[in-house]
Symmetry: D2
């Protein structure tokens, strides 16, 4: 029986769950998983529901749910669960996050299709070839930056990409690109934000003498390292660790945090309420 | 407006959420929080819903929900959110778990009423007096064990207790008492179960040379330390820590784990499916 | 046999360990614990050694070690292990950190003597009385701030205090007081520094949507929340947690982090190299 | 200047540090790192010291230290720091631990030489070829088990292997092999020992309803899953996770724990005192 993932967001009020559940019942659906959150500050309601239905035509299913919930004017998303997000990964010369995503993807841990890798270096080409993923070398200099960004947007468009993953891509994207990819581009920052925004976070973490270092996966917005946070984690480090040790230790936490964030996004477990994310974790 | 906490458990099937949401809508209810789980192994469905309704009479609210959900023959619980569970804490001579529960209770962190403390020692009396909690000294010897247990059951009955908390109570309860209090008695065990069941877990953890020690809060059943697990946690310890250090370090993890478990139970966030718990955490 | 705790700091170079171990051997000492660190950046060497010696007169022991190590011109500290640091705790109206310190002190977990509590509120008086600790109510207004600070310094001097612990003391101390107490005053800040320095960190953590909140124990310097970090930790929080929840959850992490830091300082396990701490943990 | 790693173990007593430091000073050595532990239960003393010396001939260095420490009759090990342990990895069909070791080795995170991989399956051959590591396919059936083990011992001997790493090798080694490789063979077990010893730990963890799952790296002895523990860690899992989820989540914790353990052993940071390990971590 086909299964569906439904996401919904609207102003909170009585009757939304009843309406949605009725819509699902109208297509003989059985709810497998259901998460919801009513934000007391903004009055926003978010929901994620996974259900089975004998109806295989997604437009019929959507119609049934639309019919019941229209009064709430929700932002509504629905997809066949087996249809995976189409992703492109952007990377510079550090390959640990990319390697982790490719490995997990190959083992079925992250339900995305990695359609291409874009890099401003040639460094990760052979890794991608091992996994059969097309590799686009798009070099960036001060002069060619806008051309390079055009090329990126072109690839995103041509491949019908849903999700752009900056996996330690060391170029700052222009406001225009951030805008165009808004809501579907995520980044891994190598610090526990809001600490150590910007460049060389491990150097500054060392200098400040913090006892834990971390990483943060977030949506990319025009404000550098200020986008909504999807996932964070930290690891303990001792005074004996030098900057290069922090960099090495950080690799683990970066790849773990980014992979978790990608999985959450890929499974529609992330909703946005203002600048905060709602995470429907398992 | 009064708010309610509803818990429900039944065989899984299509239409349960619709029925429940309809029942809630019938009393003009607005859902504030909703968690559910369909267990693929047993086919059991569990739900916890917190909602507001202008109807103040709980029997009317229950009736409306019963009417809609009766077809699923659920086990259904409903209470006014502000009505707190009535608890008794049992303790021997270590006071750290008891002190933590009393402190958190006083600061509004755990929504229970601590109606009494029962102990086989006099050690914790002054602590209880500071918080104005009645203290029952019920000594236990091999000869008086059954008399002592009778006394405990009597207090539980007289005070109309919903929840018995063994907060490092060092006597093993008889099968009969476990049976009579089944489902409403929880214990903190000072190891990460199933490791180090039974006596002197810190000594055995030291001897085995484990790198983390832990604690486990669980429902009490007749099989010692085998009841459904509610919460667990661990803390790292080095080789330099001796048994008495593990005991001291363990105090922190014991009190934290027990307090979390009590809060989960007090807020109806724990459902039982076979010997496993479903935890509707925030 | 008396045991000693020796701390040493000097420029790194060959022969320091030999010299120190020879000094200890000269008083028939047996090393029980020994930790050291050579900082590659500053070239500083730090050491902490715990040893037993049949010589009970500390000045003789010190002389022997001085004699062997003088060539390295170290900053050297030595004390009988059983002689505890004399501490004063400063607190405002939140009592969780103070309560934790008093509880742990009473259970022998933290080897300090709590000689007095100073507060700008009356709130914690009865708590202190339960533990038999003198309570000094020193109110602070804009007008009386310097008088109040004089009073604090007077108490510190009169009681011969080694360690001032700001356990959620909500007044900012003047540069002059920070200066006078330099190296012997520590604070708990209710965020994971350097994130959310300054006021209302939980409110800002909520607004930023971080997935972990934390606490930081640090030495107090004139630069607010910029002093050397002694200990930090974090705890995961979900989107469902409101500001008041973060405050409640934060209590646990604040008291844990502060107590760990106080213990580390009390046991001479903290050395300072520039603005970074070296922690000789067990 | 060459640097050395010295390990030492003997009965505790006054003067050991002085003697060792004197030996190091005799070869104009400068101590870079020094860790030691006196076990109060067994009276054993262990030390690990890293130092630089202008003397490049290791036998001269050893002689100097022997001369000073001979009175303590220590078990003493010394090596040039840049001389890496020679390791063989044994694996069945799960490749996550092997992939992690190869990746970290290639990035310089783990100072070992991976001389060969031995497997009873062909599954991991191409992975090894990507890293240029020789792959030995040694199939095992009930009938060929002793022949296969002979082959393994032969490879270990021929390649002059210091360390055998069972990276999810799913065959139980005979007592004889365990004996012959004693002290230089480590295993990753996919549970938090002593919980869930033996087969199918994730299935049993699911059935028991534990709230955290873990992994344990340990030395292999004849008693299955009873050898000295080197490293352990855990990760939180919810009730919603099915057995296959635990297996997937467990991959992360297994590879992390094994890699940490291998690094500790490779850097001589692990000493054995009875059935417990002393870990000189950074």
């Amino acid at each position: 029986m086909p299964s569906y993932v439904l996401t919904m967001q609207c102003a909170d009020g009585p009757g939304i769950v009843k309406a949605t559940a009725t819509g699902i019942a109208d297509v003989e659906g059985n709810i497998l998983e259901n998460d919801q959150f009513s934000d007391p500050v903004t009055g926003q309601f978010c929901m994620r529901t996974r259900f089975e239905s004998p109806i295989a035509d997604i437009s019929n299913v959507r119609q049934a749910i639309d019919a019941q919930t229209a009064g709430f004017a929700p932002t509504l998303g629905i997809r066949h669960e087996e249809v995976q997000r189409r992703a492109v990964v952007m990377v510079s010369s550090f390959d640990h996050c990319l390697a982790d995503l490719l490995y997990r993807r190959a083992h079925g841990d992250i339900p995305i299709e990695i359609c291409a890798v874009i890099s401003n270096h040639e460094h990760c080409r052979s890794l991608c070839e091992q996994y059969g993923v097309p590799y686009h070398y798009v070099p960036v200099t001060k002069e060619t930056k806008s051309v390079a960004e055009e090329k990126v947007l072109e690839i995103v468009k041509e491949l019908d990409i849903d999700l752009v993953i900056l996996a330690r891509y060391m170029q700052i994207l222009s406001d225009d690109v951030c805008q165009q990819l808004s809501g579907k581009i995520i980044n891994i920052h190598h610090s526990f934000l809001p600490g150590f925004k910007g460049a060389r976070p491990y150097h500054r973490a060392y200098e400040r003498g913090v006892k834990l270092i971390g990483a943060t996966a977030h949506f990319v917005t025009r404000d550098l390292d200020e986008g909504p946070i999807i996932e964070q984690d930290v690891v303990r480090v001792s005074h004996a660790r030098q900057v290069q040790d922090l960099v090495a230790i950080g690799r683990d936490i970066e790849r773990t945090v980014l992979s978790r964030a990608v999985r959450l996004v890929a499974e529609d477990r992330v909703a946005l309420v203002g600048n905060r994310t709602v995470i429907f974790s398992q």
